[in-house]
């Protein structure tokens, strides 16, 4: 299986990207500074009861849900399209391998690079926060790290998958940024729009949100990531006042019995975001003229 060799080569190559490390450095600085701010003045962050390690985790998750997509876009948008545009894909594909191996190797290599960079950043940031708090919940921290790395892998797959659909880096950039804007920045408005149309073109009433509104609000990978952490660390989540946010919160909080309205839906959504880009990216890449 040559995908491992491709992944190793890609890791060696991409790990030397200055843009990626600049971003990791910014991530470390932001997480250290914000850990500091959170521990010093928790009431500013909605925690009048004082800073807790659980609160720090969810606070860091909020930062990660912004940084991971950006890092994935910076680190992966050129992964396949850039090689096709430049022509280095010809070196790769003239060796005894298959398109499936090349694509799988790319996904793994980039996920490993991002996971490595952001993992280092997370450990530094959380370590700093824990030291300031003088408290550390090892199990929660490892769970958090694990889910965050899974989220990183999902986002790397999304962006590599988008990159594999085209041979032009400018189109790959457009796709990656478009994805970010629609799913991460404007999704609340999209949910609202859907509710508006579904409600017979009238503005939805927050008191009578349908249950599916919560499910729809969980479609963005970062929302699913946040929900997954809530699902795995429910005690810390309730103590830290963290709950799957965004539209439909009321329904989500009230109708927590249904699976589609529970935070566990986050795992399903993340799994879908892993499979869908793999399928789309592979099908497009496998049939492409390089």
């Amino acid at each position: 299986m040559t995908w491992r060799i491709v992944a190793k080569k890609d890791f060696r190559d991409a790990v030397q990207s200055r843009a990626l490390w600049a971003l990791v450095a910014v991530f470390v600085i932001v997480s250290v500074l914000s850990s500091f701010a959170y521990v010093e003045a928790p009431e500013l962050f909605g925690e009048p009861g004082g800073a807790t390690f659980g609160g720090l985790l969810f606070f860091t998750a909020g930062i990660a849900s912004l940084f991971v997509p950006i890092a994935a876009i910076v680190g992966c948008y050129k992964s396949v399209a850039g090689e096709r545009e430049l022509g280095s894909i010809k070196l790769l594909c003239s060796l005894p391998t298959t398109r499936a191996d090349v694509f799988a190797g790319k996904v793994l290599g980039r996920a490993a690079v991002l996971g490595f960079g952001l993992g280092v950043g997370l450990i530094v940031g959380l370590g700093f926060g824990a030291a300031m708090l003088g408290a550390l919940d090892v199990v929660a921290a490892i769970t958090f790290l694990f889910v965050t790395l899974a989220f990183v892998a999902v986002y790397a797959t999304i962006v590599v998958g988008l990159s594999a659909t085209t041979g032009s880096t400018s189109r790959a950039t457009t796709l990656a940024l478009g994805f970010f804007v629609v799913f991460e920045l404007l999704w609340d408005a999209v949910v609202l729009g859907i509710l508006y149309v579904a409600g017979g073109f009238s503005m939805p009433n927050p008191a009578t949100m349908p249950e599916w509104a919560f499910t729809v609000s969980q479609i963005p990978p970062s929302a699913a990531y946040f929900s997954s952490i809530v699902a795995l660390l429910p005690d810390l989540a309730s103590r830290a006042n963290a709950e799957p946010a965004q539209a439909g919160t009321e329904a989500g909080a009230a109708g927590g019995e249904s699976f589609f309205a529970s935070p566990e839906i986050g795992f399903v959504v993340l799994a879908c975001w892993l499979v869908l880009p793999l399928v789309v990216g592979y099908v497009r890449f496998d049939t492409a003229d390089l």
Partner: protein, 305 residues
Amino acid sequence: MAAIETRGLTKRFGDVVAVSDLDLVVEEGEIFGFLGPNGAGKSTTIDILLDFIRPTSGTVTVLGHDAQSEGRAVRQRTGVLPDAYHVYDRLTGRQHVEFALEMKGVDEDPVALLDRVNVADAADRKAGGYSKGMRQRLILAMALVGDPDLLVLDEPSTGLDPNGAREMREIIREENARGTTIFFSSHIMEQVEAVCDRVAIIDRGELVAVDTIDGLRHATETGETLYVSVTELDEGVREAVAGLDGVGSAAIDDGQLRLTITGGSKFAVLESVDEIAAVQDFSVIESSLEDLFVRYTTETQEVDA
């Protein structure tokens, strides 16, 4: 078994026909030159052999394997120097060759391979800092990994200085002596002429000639041109000479007779000319394949027009 065999190979990009109904057979063990002007369809054909692009119709067999369904098996035994490639700027020369070694699953010394192509000194430098010629050598080293049965070289001399081009030809001959079939493309006749057993000329996606170098020369009437200086030269002399055996055509060119020889001995022709008008001096111009190439590729264009 043929090393490469295409049958009815056609590739369209939208409305543009890049390769049209190409039938080509490259035998095992030969050095085969694939010649044509830029944009003739050489790289498209090579890209199909390597399954970089998929044909619109037709079949391609390389080393007995179907190029589309068994591409991996093809590339396991093939070394490739692609056209318009790009190296991994952040990886060293050694890492490039190591990557090819791992992918082919062979155990060789990467530095020895780099040494063969004269870039061993730069083995631990990042390839992004290599000159064009060094990159070309590096990729050739990758192509030589695993002692391939077939070398596919797309414009191998691009970016090489005359010394580099000569070394490239030497490596091609060495590999061929070890039993490797060589298929290489070029738009420069001279390079092909120097090493090839057989040549195919492609123009506008169509094959216009496949032959040995000698065969190509014979195929055209104007194999050789004889320039003769005689003591007296006028129209009567020209007509008399034109009627001689073995003379295809005779013309007066810059105070000399210009004769094309259709066959037989040049010496006999010269003796016959000497009987008509005393020969002072002569020179023989062998038509270069360059002329031939230009003729092949421009005639078809005129026909098209």
